[in-house]
């Protein structure tokens, strides 16, 4: 039990440190992907402020505030981590490091990795030295992920990997991949999968970007042609990779469900007022859209309560492990609604695709991109199926 005065002191110190160390430019909402710092071997900073902010946070272990200090984390307990998040939010401080290593692989390694794997990989994630990508989906294994066919065949102490992955975000920039491969083709589909890590510069790995309806995207196809990987790179037990995969997906879903809030989005009512104008009472000049925005605001505020409660329930050991599926479903559907409203509020102006005026169609591209939210990381329909089966215990689900 932590003393309240200790926590208040931590809050005061944290506030002072952030005030002194977070550059003004790093307190503005992110405008585009270039405002994310992703780290990696070939990392580049968009600005000096971004570099300074990242390095200061890294040196405090606050790129991963709640990881153990031995792995480069800040070693903060739940209460202190919450205070840090609150104080960062209060000044609008950006996340210093965006990373699939932090959001997805790290939690899985902490739970399933052996000591050598943790010591090797976690500090490099915390320090932003290695950028990771995720090799899950395949052209014929989307919602039915467990039917994946990328094969890993033993050869001495190694595996030889052949196959292809799709929707590997930033595969063309990533240094390493965490990947699901089939290590037993004769077992039932969930029982022959392994979770393995390897270097993207390995011989036989190639990537190809995918053009989406929103235009340029981080997504790639990734191909493996006789890629040789030591068997020691398997996380957890060989053929038990599905356990690791599911655990990691919970974190991925929690991440995606929070996406709407993370873009530093301005209140919809304000954005709409800019383009639509208001009547003499200050009300939006489109009463139906105004009602839609009000209803959206209710749902968004209520979802924020649920996200806060989920954290508190997890701390109390009372959170259902499948709850992240419910949140992923709701959060992504809500984000799609948000962007439909934004397009409606923007009207003709929001339709421009290539002008400087429209920042190369930023609003339209963002709108289209959100359509993937309810597909990636498990479709809304898959999420509802998980809730029906694992939480509601409905028959035959």
């Amino acid at each position: 039990m932590t003393d309240t005065s200790d926590l208040e002191q931590f809050r005061a110190e944290t506030r002072a440190w952030l005030e002194a160390n977070c550059p003004t430019e790093m307190r503005k909402p992110m405008q585009g992907d270039e405002d994310n710092f992703w780290g990696g071997r070939n990392a580049t900073f968009a600005s000096d402020a971004q570099k300074v902010w990242f390095e200061r946070m890294r040196d405090k272990g606050w790129t991963v505030p709640d990881w153990p200090t031995q792995y480069g984390g800040g070693g903060l307990d739940g209460a202190r981590h919450k205070i840090l998040r609150e104080e960062m939010a209060a000044i609008g401080a950006r996340s210093p490091l965006s990373s699939f290593g932090i959001w997805m692989l790290g939690p899985a390694l902490l739970k399933y990795g052996n000591e050598a794997q943790k010591a090797e990989h976690l500090p490099k994630i915390a320090r932003g030295e290695i950028r990771w990508c995720q090799g899950y989906s395949e052209p014929n294994a989307g919602s039915d992920l467990a039917s994946l066919q990328t094969r890993a065949v033993p050869d001495g102490d190694d595996f030889i990997i052949n196959g292809s992955k799709i929707w590997t975000s930033y595969a063309n920039y990533a240094d390493w991949i965490f990947c699901l491969v089939r290590t037993d083709a004769s077992a039932k589909k969930h029982d022959g999968i392994s979770f393995i890590l390897f270097d993207m510069t390995s011989k036989g790995v190639t990537t190809k970007p995918i053009l989406l309806i929103s235009g340029k995207s981080p997504f790639c196809e990734t191909f493996f042609d006789n890629v040789r990987v030591p068997q020691s790179h398997v996380v957890g037990t060989i053929n038990r990779g599905w356990d690791v995969a599911k655990y990691l997906l919970q974190h991925e879903r929690a991440m995606i469900s929070g996406m709407g809030g993370r873009d530093g989005g301005r209140p919809l009512g304000q954005v709409a007022a800019l383009s639509l104008g208001t009547d003499d009472q200050g009300k939006l000049d489109d009463p139906v859209l105004r009602g839609q925005i009000a209803t959206f605001d209710v749902d968004e505020a209520a979802l924020a309560c649920a996200a806060e409660r989920a954290v508190d329930l997890a701390k109390a050991g009372q959170l259902h492990p499948a709850f992240s599926s419910a949140m992923k479903y709701y959060g992504t559907e809500l984000n799609k609604r948000r962007h439909e409203i934004l397009m409606s509020a923007g009207g003709i102006d929001a339709l421009e695709w290539e002008s400087e005026r429209s920042h190369d169609g930023a609003r339209a591209r963002a709108w289209l991109r959100t359509k993937a939210n309810s597909i990636e990381g498990g479709t809304s329909e898959v999420m509802l199926g998980i809730v029906a089966k694992r939480i509601l215990d409905l028959p035959g689900a």
């Binding site: 209140p267 919809l268 009512g269 304000q270 709409a272 007022a273 208001t278 200050g282 009300k283 939006l284 105004r290 009602g291 925005i293 009000a294 209803t295 605001d297 209710v298 749902d299 505020a301 209520a302 979802l303 309560c305 649920a306 806060e308 409660r309 508190d312 329930l313 701390k315 109390a316 009372q318 709850f323 419910a326 949140m327 479903y329 709701y330 329909e381 999420m383 509802l384 199926g385 809730v387 029906a388 939480i391 509601l392 215990d393 409905l394 028959p395 035959g396 689900a397």
Partner: protein, 379 residues
């Protein structure tokens, strides 16, 4: 503050669940309804509420209550919602007790609060006038007369109005409907000359009344709070009530949903349990998600009201608006998924739909609270 119940609050919930589930399940409500009970609630049950400390939950300890907060009141309201329990808890223990505790003089508190806590006094709050909840548009007048006022106007949807020993009435002592200032709250004896009370039997068979005031004389001692400045007190009390009603709606939604999921697991058609059909599974999973989000929003509002009932207005609007849409969805899906049986009076699920409809209107529906949110956010 963590957005989960504390250990003490969980214990309170368990004892409320035990008492209400045991003594006042839905069958208890059915009996009162079918017998057309004149009181509309059980005095015996209300005495048990008092013995358990529920009646005086929001009454300060100095006046014989337990001095607990709105989170605790919400915990009891949720169980009331779950069992459709007819009870003076909302009108007396939540609305009247908060109004008196927040706005009463020492003499008023001494006179009424101990009786609320021991269960001997039933009170009702009279606010609404038109078809919808619009407290800022109150038109009922309070005209100065001698040392006091004369009240004239009509009130509707006064919960427990026909059984109340004390009415708390909001009237306009100055200005015109729509003005922020000019409201005053009065403590009125329902037996006073000029008060006419009509019990209105509502769709949900819970207590409500229309009350008309025809030049009812009240003296200065019967003013609750300040003359012309009653709007702020009223808004704070309404926020307590709205958060509490949202908690009752959560109970209604959660119970209707639980019963529906159980039905999906026992009803067979086409040789299969209907819960095997994906069309129903996805709707059930969606509803589950909505209810869990509502649960969080309600607890947030209750905690916010405990911190500051006026500042809580945004959290309260979110909770009551969300409760309106989610509970409506829960009872509609409940009846639909029960099929033909859902339309019968014999099955309880339809009773939840009727109750949800009334609770949606009570103290502002989803549209009202979404509109408030839009106004505060200035768009």
């Amino acid at each position: 503050m963590a957005l989960v119940l504390t250990e003490e609050q969980t214990m309170l919930r368990d004892s409320a669940r035990g008492l209400i589930g045991d003594k006042a399940p839905v069958a208890h409500f059915r009996k009162l309804r079918d017998e057309r009970d004149a009181t509309g609630f059980s005095r015996e049950l209300w005495n048990s509420f008092a013995e358990m400390g529920f009646a005086g939950l929001l009454v300060p300890e100095a006046f014989g209550g337990s001095g607990l907060g709105c989170v605790e009141a919400g915990v009891v309201m949720e169980e009331i919602g779950r069992n459709l329990t007819p009870s003076p808890f909302l009108a007396t223990a939540v609305l009247a007790a908060s109004a008196l505790a927040r706005g009463g003089s020492d003499a008023q508190k001494k006179q009424y609060l101990p009786k609320i806590a021991d269960g001997s006094l039933i009170a009702a709050l009279a606010v609404d006038e038109g078809a919808k909840h619009r407290p800022s548009r109150i038109a009922m007048t309070a005209t100065r007369a001698g040392n006091g006022f004369k009240l004239k106007g009509d009130k509707a949807l006064v919960v427990d109005g026909h059984v109340a020993d004390l009415l708390i009435v909001a009237a306009r002592s100055s200005g015109k409907p729509g003005d922020a200032d000019g409201l005053t709250l009065f403590l009125v004896d329902p037996k006073a000359k000029g008060v006419a009370i009509e019990r209105t039997v509502m769709v949900d068979a819970h207590n409500a009344a229309r009350i008309s005031f025809d030049d009812v004389e009240v003296n200065a001692d019967q003013v609750l709070g300040e003359v012309d400045r009653g709007g702020a007190l009223l808004e704070a009390v309404l926020n307590v009530g709205r958060a509490a009603v949202a908690a009752e709606m959560l109970g209604v939604a959660d119970e209707a949903f639980g019963r529906t999921v159980s039905y999906l697991k026992e009803r067979k058609q086409f040789g299969r349990l209907i819960g095997e059909f994906q069309a129903l599974q996805h709707r059930a999973a969606h509803l589950y998600t909505e209810i869990e989000i509502l649960r969080a929003a309600v607890l947030k509002a209750l905690q916010a009201v405990d911190a500051d009932a006026t500042e809580a207005r945004v959290a309260v609007a979110v909770a009551k608006a969300k409760a309106g849409t989610v509970t409506t969805l829960a009872v509609q899906e409940g009846v639909q998924m029960h099929g033909g049986m859902g339309m019968t009076d014999q099955f309880d699920i339809g009773l939840f739909m009727k109750r949800a409809r009334v609770l949606q209107e009570l103290l502002g529906d989803a549209n009202y609270h979404a509109e408030m949110l839009a106004e505060w956010k200035k768009y």
